[in-house]
Symmetry: C3
Subunit: 154 residues, 3 copies
């Protein structure tokens, strides 16, 4: 399989600009082989976010698209932090949060939008441990927020 | 104290079948001495899940039982991943999520169902750092979802 | 910049008594260079907690004050665990949970109460990766719950 950076090209993926922190934090922090990535939202190329509550304002499919877009934003952060996505060894763990109604139950399908993207880019190394859960509210009404930990070159 | 595998026997615990991923993730990922365990639900031996909202469909005690069952599912995953529970050094950190009403406030009592099981099996090494919180919705309406990190033999 | 312990003095900060576990867990667990800190609430010097739902019972500013108080409680735990705050190298990752109404969207402003305190005490090393999210319910109706991971001396 191609390197992650080549995969980005082959898949014709367009990463949004690497997001800037909206408060007192860093978008990612590296310690040894671990890269802790902050909670990211579905940032689009035009710098706006996909907002709305899944199960009310957004369908499951639209939520999944938001999770994919969140993945693209995270890739932008990882590339900016490490210099290249080729320094990623694998995705260790994902925590996927869905802004949803109390009766929405398909969080795993939504977060798959992120997880399928990671598998597309990193292959089997892009499939890690994961939780997918519902939240009654997320910052700025973003549809999805995802944080994760990568294993990277030291 | 006996080894964890012996404790399982002494306590007459029955683990459910190790759960299969329901989406694009692995149920656990090992990196060095760290084992990242995915969010698990209260999987029963018959492969069904304990579902319902605590404070509405389930009592605190029933929620606690669901957390204990989630622990049994996690033990099944850890055994399958490592080959034996005896390779666990200790539980480092637990994140316990309770599917509950807005006015339910006893998440720590619920998640104790998991934590007491871990203490039963691993002794004092089964007591780690922990958060216990409420969620408005969890996948498939499971009553409890728990993710955790173990320290294991490299 | 002064050491963290000197900063505590210079800023005239008063830490609450280090909290005791309210259930089956430890308030912090150290493994090598990592210190996993359990979910803490806004414990005050009089040992009561700041309670209430942000967006309903508490304003954003009051929620932020609760997050700062949660930070003081975490500092008390870290000092008790390590013997001194000077053994902290940096804050790696924060997960900040806000007990809030479904339409409250300013979680980052609330959790800044914690993050600004960490920056005041540890300088730039107090700024790590972070997620800030809403929850429909937290234990005992506490306004904020925060867990985090520090890099510490081994």
């Amino acid at each position: 399989m191609s390197s992650p950076e080549k995969r980005i090209q082959e898949l014709h993926l367009t990463l949004p600009p690497a997001p800037k922190p909206v408060a007192v934090y860093k978008t990612a922090v590296k310690m040894g082989h671990l890269l802790f990535v902050s909670g990211h939202g579905p940032l689009k190329a035009d710098k706006t976010m996909i907002t709305g509550r899944v199960g009310q304002d957004l369908t499951t499919e639209q939520g999944k698209e938001a999770a994919r877009q969140t993945g693209l934003a995270i890739l932008a952060t990882v590339r900016e932090t490490l210099g290249s996505l080729d320094k990623v060894k694998r995705l260790l763990k994902t925590y996927g949060m869905v802004n949803c109604t109390d009766d929405f139950l398909d969080q795993p399908k939504v977060i798959n939008g992120f997880s399928e993207l990671m598998r597309d880019v990193f292959g089997e190394d892009g499939v890690g441990a994961r939780s997918a859960v519902g939240h009654n509210s997320l910052p700025g009404n973003i549809a999805v927020e995802i944080e994760c930990i990568f294993e990277v070159e030291a």
